[in-house]
Symmetry: C2
Subunit: 446 residues, 2 copies
């Protein structure tokens, strides 16, 4: 059944591309991960196709700790997302800029300020992907021995975001009068000191940055356990998720919308956007050859190391040709990903080797290998079934595979009336159809 | 006596300009403080004159707390310095980018990463101005009730910078091989895990960013008490300071160089660059008229509030026409500034009103009011007397007064052979004549 409206699209920018080993592809620039020009090129391709946003993940650590694969890991030479996106504000015009930042090892005042600044610099195109960290390699960089408890992380996240939005509301939109004649810079009745005192934070405020152009930068969230879904329903305007297939995606989509409705939020104000990894070929054969080529880049050590991290399991003494068990000890780290991958492995009766391969290809995100027509059809079908409001496109190589997607798949989506051909507004909120939040204090005085 | 070489110049970018009330000048853009175009314009003027760097101060709070002057304060609507400079990397080619960041309310891993990223984005033009905070308005934004003790702040700062440089050394310069053929991304023998365990921080590392192009971004420092000077001698490559006159400047300059020599550092690797506020007129009369006009912008409430903050004193019940006393209770906040201002007031027998005026004009920095010839002569003389290796130019209005300086004073400096006409190198280090630090681990293995 066709569904009204158009899908939203983001592009996930992961250095040389999303597939493990993408940096080895002849098409990817050798120093791409630290070259702003590489990212600017991806951004230009995305803007030419009116993509809604660039998406940058984040990790506050390295993956070398006790890993045999350290020499083959490519994740240790990147750039910090907020500074990178700030640089890209000057090289882009319309596209949204999503930076991931964890609430587990940050302070609300700093993040409120950075994102407010990014929103001003980009004239309303900033977004914050709120995460709670899912790696054991970060805590030791912040004076802690272990990743804090899963529930504690989410409780802290919820309070963290409340503090940040209160700081963004410190000054009403029209608080700064800047009347040169009288010398009155601010209307002091429009200053509201948050004075937050909570379980995890005590932050007086106010922020020393004017309210962001979007009111708040768009709030994105990624984290799909029960606790993660609760946080999403509470505050996320875009939910990024890993849905390995449509069945899973549909279930997840419905649960998010239902929980959001339960707290009084409108369906179209909580956009669910799973990742997809499109492997595009002009023919089926070309597509599957391409997949094979890309798969050949990831050394088995790197694949194993990645799977160990995603599943929180030690594979060193496991027979890789044995079946994946139905359950593993519950993890404190990346709960949702462990659940999704085990469920998938059970459904397909995967051996460890097969699951490791699946994780290396896309870490749990859905891979669609096919012709432009097939990929577009698949996306439209997922959209029509209300299993997604759009997608975060995680091209296997950058800019190569992404250019193919834009050149070949985007026209197919447009032909089906499911994707726009130009930007609708200036801000990311306008482009996503999201309301601009009223300042809580302005609201109160009405 | 003439001195060999040329002076270094930075431009201090403080929203609408350095004078209190600069935003009221007809020439300053109304929304300048939050408009990246405003900053880009200043940067373009600075690059056209081959300035060494743009300098951004920072403050992690607002000045509204219990201040009568809140409506007239202009400091509450700015941008965060690191994001702002990241945006400017794309709009500048050669100029250095100095961001101030405090060690008192940050974590070394975050700052190491941000500055490394900024150095990559700018291809080696980043610098970090290390400060320890000097305001009572920040602590409550970070869960603390009071600014930590002066000595504690400096002890933390010293350890903080050690951790940051160790993180920058995590990977040797040539650690990332990126051999597509073999799949070896990094030479794992060139990875060095800092594993820092100290009094204030425990940070394992390594950083997940490649070693910055400059090895380390240039280390700038501002803080001029005994403890501040010790820190400067230990690690600063550029020292920013407030020297209200040449006598004070000379004493300070000598003490920094001497302390640096005592720890084995070369004179030309520790550049002392005081601020100056040039008020340029084509005639003497034009210059003094201009000063008067600029002074008229700062309301007395704002002037008093600023002086109270700089001196850590409550002026509400003091007769402003009485003489400033020789001493005040020692402050925990901005020790060096209190000392400098009291010394100056004593020498000139200032009343409170006069001192307040002086603080409003330049917060303790030297003001030079005169013709281009007089200003250039004055600067060259200070340089020749070895009271400065260069200056941080703190124009009263931006871009207006700064354009005047570039148009009228720079040619005079050049005529005297004391200022260059083009960039000498690509990186800020090259332009400042600073050595590129060897990686400590590379060094050790030689
Ligand atoms: C699709 C997706 C993307 C994520 N991206 C990041 C990331 O870039 N950085 C990060 O620290 N955590 C990331 N996370 C993890 C979240 O931080 C989340 O807090 C973590 O998975 C634990 O919560 P969960 O079990 O609810 O998923 C991501 C999670 C999902 C589902
Ligand atoms: C010229 C100068 C500029 C400074 N700029 C800043 C600044 O932008 N932000 C800040 O937090 N502190 C700044 N400081 C203060 C330093 O943080 C310093 O740690 C503080 O003054 C207390 O140390 P002191 O008594 O040694 O000067 C500055 C200090 C000086 C001397």
């Amino acid at each position: 059944m066709p569904r009204k409206g158009e899908m939203k699209l983001g592009v996930f920018v992961n250095q040389a591309g999303y597939s493990e080993g993408a940096w080895r592809d002849p098409s990817t620039p050798v120093n791409g991960s630290i070259e702003v020009d590489h990212y600017a090129r991806v951004a230009a391709v995305a803007e030419s196709a009116a993509f809604h946003f660039l998406f940058l993940a984040d990790h506050l650590g390295s993956v070398e700790q006790g890993q045999a694969s350290v020499a083959r890991e490519s994740g240790n030479a990147g750039l910090e997302p907020i500074t990178l996106l700030a640089a890209l504000t000057a090289r882009t015009q319309n596209i949204g800029l999503v930076a991931t930042a964890t609430t587990t090892y940050n302070q609300p005042y700093h993040l409120a300020r950075m994102f407010a600044s990014l929103d001003h610099l980009s004239r309303g195109r900033a977004a914050w992907n709120v995460v709670t960290s899912a790696s054991k390699f970060e805590a030791p960089n912040f004076g802690e021995t272990e990743l804090p408890d899963h529930d504690t992380r989410y409780a802290r996240a919820s309070e963290f975001v409340k503090v940040v939005t209160a700081l963004w509301d410190s000054w009403e939109d029209d608080a700064f009068i800047r009347d040169k004649q009288s010398g009155i810079f601010a209307d002091s009745t429009k200053l509201h000191v948050p004075n937050h005192q909570g379980k995890y934070f005590s932050v007086r405020g106010p922020l020393n940055v004017a309210r962001p152009p979007q009111g708040y930068p768009v709030l994105v969230q990624a984290g799909a356990s029960a606790a993660g879904t609760r946080l999403a329903a509470e505050l996320a305007e875009v939910v990024f998720t890993a849905a390995p297939d449509v069945e899973y995606g549909k279930k997840y989509y419905d649960s998010i919308k239902e929980k959001a409705r339960a707290v009084g939020r409108e369906d179209n104000q909580v956009l669910v956007m799973p990742g997809i990894i499109p492997i595009v070929g002009r023919t089926k054969q070309e597509a599957s050859d391409k997949l094979q080529r890309i798969q050949s880049y990831a050394h088995i050590d790197v694949q194993i190391s990645l799977a160990e991290r995603m599943l929180d399991v030690d594979l060193s003494s496991i027979d890789l040709d044995s079946l994946v068990p139905a359950t593993l000890p519950t993890t404190n780290i990346f709960q949702s990903r462990q659940t999704v991958l085990l469920e998938l492995a059970a459904r397909h009766k995967f051996t460890w080797r097969q699951l490791i391969r699946f994780v290396a290809d896309g870490r749990g995100h859905r891979i669609i290998v096919g012709t432009p027509d097939e990929i577009a059809e698949n996306m439209v079908d997922t959209f029509n079934q209300s299993a997604a409001d759009g997608f975060n496109v995680m091209s296997a190589t950058l800019p190569g595979e992404f250019m193919e997607f834009v050149e070949l798949v985007i026209p197919e989506l447009r032909r089906r009336g499911k994707y726009r051909s130009a930007y609708a507004g200036q801000t990311l909120r306008e482009n996503l159809g999201l309301m601009r939040p009223l300042n809580r204090f302005t609201q109160a005085s009405r």
